[in-house]
Symmetry: C2
Subunit: 156 residues, 2 copies
DNA sequence: ATTGAAATATGTTCGTA
DNA sequence: TACGAACATATTTCAAT
């Protein structure tokens, strides 16, 4: 494992370990080790290196938000006035719990966000009350995800 | 915990457990138990119920794809010919490893996808070779994420 | 970088309340 | 639901190669 051009170079064993855990973070080190044909201690040591390299950002339990009543996902393109500090707008977006992604993007929108709401009424409230209240937001363009067909991490 | 309108009703303890694990899937049951003030066995039992209810979809190790050379994230609105079967297009999108999300959406686009590429050249190849090759794709509109500022799950 | 073994911590089950 | 105790697995460390 080496640093080349701000990139971490990993070998095939590292990839195998990461792919296993990216699929299931609770897969045991020993099980992974048996699959590869090395000992648990070796896998453990590699994982420590990958963590130290900053490659591993943590692990998350994935839940199905629909079953908790969050049934409306939407994408929102946000137009910001030129005069406004974009970081300030992002700071305020962070305060809105329904905002789960936020990107600076090329194109007409200044900021592009993904939001998760209970229903369309909840979405309307977030758009009209929370997001429109942010200083510098001139208007928004919203499209709703009717159905998410693919949701995965990159296969490395 | 009850099923009401296809929704799982959970109590505050369940929420605490889930929020801990959604933030860090490897946090130990015992540590969570100590935080709540119940035993590990009780937390364990609740987790089994939440799993049985289908609320838990698994756990994922999160990595920083930038450090592996994946530095260009983009969103692509896809226009599909009316005649074409959308599920067929999704099936082909699934074959493209760079496609990490795919949604049916309201608005002008039929399908909206998120893709992760090494660089702009790689992105161009995916767009021009892989995505344009899909039957029924008439044109696409792409915008690049210059910087992702927020990336999180919903706080329950 | 990898091993085997030891020590520690955690997950899991179960009878009982 | 929750508890506590017993048991089974997993993680973590380390000296040696």
């Amino acid at each position: 494992m080496k640093l080349v051009n701000e990139t971490v170079v990993i070998d095939g064993i590292d990839k195998t370990i990461l792919n296993f855990l990216m699929d299931d973070a609770k897969k045991s080190i020993l099980e992974i080790a048996r699959n590869i044909g090395i000992t648990g201690a070796a896998v453990h040591q590699r994982l420590r290196k990958l963590e130290k390299a900053g490659l591993i950002e943590g692990s998350k339990l994935m839940i199905n938000p629909r079953l908790l009543g969050y049934k409306t996902m939407a994408f929102v393109g946000v137009y910001l006035d030129k005069a406004v500090s974009n970081p300030q707008a992002v700071k305020q977006l962070r305060q809105i719990p329904e905002v789960i992604e936020c990107h600076y993007t090329t194109g007409n929108w200044s900021i592009f966000i993904k939001i998760l709401c209970r229903d369309n009424e909840h979405l309307m409230n977030v758009l009209n009350k929370d997001i429109q209240a942010i200083e510098g937001v001139s208007r928004t363009e919203t499209f709703i995800s009717l159905n998410q067909q693919i949701n995965r991490q990159i296969k490395i």
